[in-house]
Symmetry: C2
Subunit: 553 residues, 2 copies
């Protein structure tokens, strides 16, 4: 692709440039405000050669744009971090953070513009270079990188962002001249130390890698725009024109009545029918209410995807086949729990030193015993080693981002434990059943989640997904218990009762979730929790076994 | 103080312990939920000897508390960070972050519990140790530390948090035994490397420093609780009892009708009178409306503090004495601006290498030209080097924290530039005039701000505070201009017109702000901006001069 950049055009007269530039900037300023009101997000990535002037292109825009709705991410240390993370994988050590986390963190709200001065392609390039040097599977590495990148950009586009990708190209001679100029000025020398000057010698090798990477990531939903970095004026105009076009297109799309789905479906939430007649949340679910709930459940399931594009285990769980009779007697429980907790404590110390990230995720019916189960795991850990991440109702900034953003920004560091009391699966459980997400949103969430979890596992994380199950009868007993105990009353809310009235909808959502997200690399495990002792010991056993396997103990 | 800890009590029988512990935890769980509803924040600091069991005390509590409203801050690397920051000051280099920033960042919302496993006293101790070794002014260092600490804790208490401080004490023999045990076990050895074992030899020196520090920071609003760390059971009970007491006291205080001020004053906002009669925001302010506005302004000023407890410059500015005639002709402007921007570019490169943090703060009348002024500064900087921090309406999490929290969490790293388009002074400007803050809140904010800015300057930051001034007539002309220009319409809102009707209240607030926050270490500068060219060149001149002075250019 790079060969299509035309370096032969003559200089653009200053006055012509200024006239067009002023007009474009004025238009861009107005469009930015419109995008802000319309909730159109813009992700603008600048990739390109070291010294090609990416920073100056961004500065030119920043001068005119509204700082309140503009963010700049600078990938200064991307090289080192990527090198460490990647090299680590060879030796069984992981980077502190997953590779894409920084980019997720920097992502602005819908309605804002986020500039990335270097981004995920720089990281990919670094990985490919190392792969070609360190081991044989360079092709596999390329495929993995491209898949992660495609999933990331696709999710942004699906979520209402326009993704604009610039590659600022300069010739080998041009690059050398620029780097030397920066190097020769004592004021800017620190930016181009000798090692970077030397790196410029790798232009030819990098050219091939870049060209291939660009061609393969020129997605129709996020195509590349190649910019001639040797002509400042033309570069500024090309960038501004592209952004004006992108915003105009997005604003037109948002203004037009949506063909696909949305507007009609948003109101038509799966539980519209049962909500019409006021129901007593304490009443047993039967008769007409049950039939209506079942119909809503079936309607929602019909909208769920037929299959995932990720590898799914054949033996995924199902709600109906959970064995509620599994139990453990108190003495046996105490003995095994203590033994497992002691082993976990030792393993966690090892894990910390080896920098393994551990994510333990709990979903489950209300009152199934998630909290108590988590506490028995945490009890074995040093308070410094773990974080419990609850999932309260999303905040306004969270709602203005893709739903996975709140989890991308809440990951444990490598060597630490993240315990999730409910999780990203809320999208396909409560948000699906209650209509907080549109059907097109939750339907695509299964594979968005699978991609997210693949990135975590790729990073080196151990990811354990627990479904804490309880039978409807036992749940009812616990609800009554909670209401009677002052120390537990805060644990029961009217929502818990209302959820019981939606048992068929939840059951259908859970079964779809099992069917579509029991990937080979992150399968679900059911913790049968009618007897909480059984569920706690089972959880500890699985955690200990996973750590022992990874740590080779 | 440490000598008051009684290590001689006999062991507590397990059954007695369990009974009391269970009862306390049950109570604590209920109180935590009540505190959550009532918005009572709890800050729980654990300081004490290495190996004294601070982490275990926190784990004991975490097992019972509701993770959704509990946070744990772990100061693992505090030692190293403090050492670097402090040692750096000697050589004119600063730490990446101000010392208290981590603690501010970790602070949970009102209604939650935040545990600090080591905190600001550990940092202070480190500074004192280094001070006593590296230079002569150990006493001055101690005074500075204690003042920062007192201001921090005071602000939390004023803001609705209870601050509970535990010091977990062990004897010299006890500490050695614990550290050796951790060191001898291969699983935990990494926690007590040889260097830490060796550090324990400094027990006697540290004892003196701790004792003195504790005595001097035993504030009535945040007293110390000394805990016998050698007796796990008694320690857990003492901690739990203290927390139960603290929450009960706070809940009682919140439930009781407030004696001081609040309830009555909250409604009685300074502009209550003019708001009563609907006014035309476009009308000139005169007659009865002017009289009412002036009365409201005087009433508010009467509530402002007489004086600050920080050193104030005698020559602080005043709104009435601003010279609106200052101006610069276009050619002279272009020449000087370009020259200054070039010098700034070079200085910023130096500053980056020397790790000097630069904060440039803009406040000013609507349409005074803050944004354009900021852009001329940013224009001279590399896009990688600066961040523009706007101050939109506070979010829900921000409102649930002390008002300075949003700024403590938005500071540039050392070597970077933070440009603030409006700032923490909103508390004593718009929040005072519009009644968004209660009079007791904005009245104490002046010195809270002075303390905040002292901490920044102590860190090594250059802090420049610009008031961008414009005469009422020129402002009116600009409002009309903006309304007529499609590219500028987003810059004018009905609020701008309404604010003009409150000119006397804003003027009084600005004058109080100048009078109470023009500290010797962070004075105000007025940028006379009827002629924007003059204001821009003046800002650049001041920035360049400040950098040249600091960098010795």
């Amino acid at each position: 692709m790079l060969e299509t950049v035309d370096f032969s055009e003559g200089a653009l007269p200053k006055d012509d440039y200024k006239r067009e530039h002023d007009a474009l900037m004025e238009r861009l300023v107005v469009l930015q405000q419109q995008a802000r009101s319309a909730g159109v997000g813009l992700v603008v990535l600048f990739e390109g050669w070291e010294g090609a002037g990416k920073g100056s292109r961004i500065s030119d825009l920043m001068f005119h744009l509204d700082a309140r709705a503009t963010g700049v991410y600078v990938g200064l240390d991307a090289d080192e971090d990527a090198e460490r993370s990647f090299a680590g994988r060879e030796w069984g050590v992981t980077g502190y953070h997953p590779l894409m986390q920084d980019f997720w963190r920097a992502l602005g709200e819908r309605g804002s513009i986020t500039f990335y001065d270097r981004g995920w392609y720089s990281v990919a390039l670094q990985r490919l270079r190392l792969a070609s040097r360190c081991h044989d599977d360079a092709a596999g590495e390329e495929a993995r990188c491209l898949e992660s990148i495609r999933d990331f950009e696709r999710q942004l586009v699906d979520d209402g962002y326009a993704v604009v990708k610039f590659f600022v190209h300069v010739t080998k001679k041009g690059q050398r001249k620029r780097l030397e100029r920066l190097h020769d000025d004592p004021v800017t020398r620190w930016r181009v130390p000798d090692r970077k000057l030397a790196a410029a010698k790798g232009y030819d090798e990098a050219y091939g890698l870049y060209d291939r990477l660009l061609e393969r990531s020129d997605f129709d939903f996020a195509p590349w725009v190649l910019v001639n970095g040797e002509d400042k004026r033309r570069a500024n105009l090309a960038v501004a024109r592209t952004l004006v076009d992108a915003l105009e297109r997005e604003l037109a799309r948002v203004a037009a009545p949506e063909e696909v789905a949305a507007s009609g479906e948003a109101g038509e939430s799966p539980d519209a029918a049962p909500a019409a007649a006021p129901i007593d949340p304490h009443a047993p679910l039967e008769g007409a209410a049950l039939a209506a709930a079942q119909a809503a459940a079936d309607a929602a399931s019909a909208r769920a995807p037929r299959a995932s594009r990720f590898p799914i285990r054949a033996d995924y769980p199902q709600v109906d086949t959970v064995d509620h009779a599994l139990a453990l007697d108190p003495d046996e429980y105490r003995r095994r729990r203590k033994d497992l907790q002691q082993r976990l404590f030792r393993l966690e110390n090892l894990m910390y030193q080896r920098r393994v990230p551990l994510l333990i995720m709990y979903e489950g019916w209300d009152a199934a015993g998630k909290g108590g189960n988590i506490k028995r795991v945490a009890q074995a850990l040093d308070a410094r080693a773990y974080t419990i991440f609850p999932s309260p109702a999303p905040t306004k900034p969270e709602l203005a981002h893709p739903f996975l953003w709140r989890y991308w920004t809440r990951l444990p560091k490598a060597g630490h434990v993240g315990l999730y009391d409910r999780s990203w699966y809320g999208r396909v459980l409560v948000e699906r059943v209650e209509g907080f997400a549109r059907p097109d949103e939750w339907a695509r969430a299964y594979d968005e989640i699978n991609a997210f979890e693949r990135d975590l596992v790729d990073w080196g994380a151990i990811l354990l997904k627990f479904w804490v199950d309880v039978s409807p009868d036992e749940q009812l007993r616990r609800f009554h218990d909670r209401e009677a105990d002052p120390a537990k009353q805060w644990k029961i809310t009217p929502d818990d009762w209302r959820n019981r009235q939606k048992y068929p909808q939840y059951k259908a959502a859970i079964d779809d979730m099992f069917r579509l997200t029991s990937t080979t690399y992150a399968p679900w495990t059911v913790l049968e929790s009618d007897d909480k002792r059984h569920a706690r010991v089972k959880a500890l056993e699985i955690i200990v076994a996973a750590l022992e396997e990874r740590l080779g103990e």
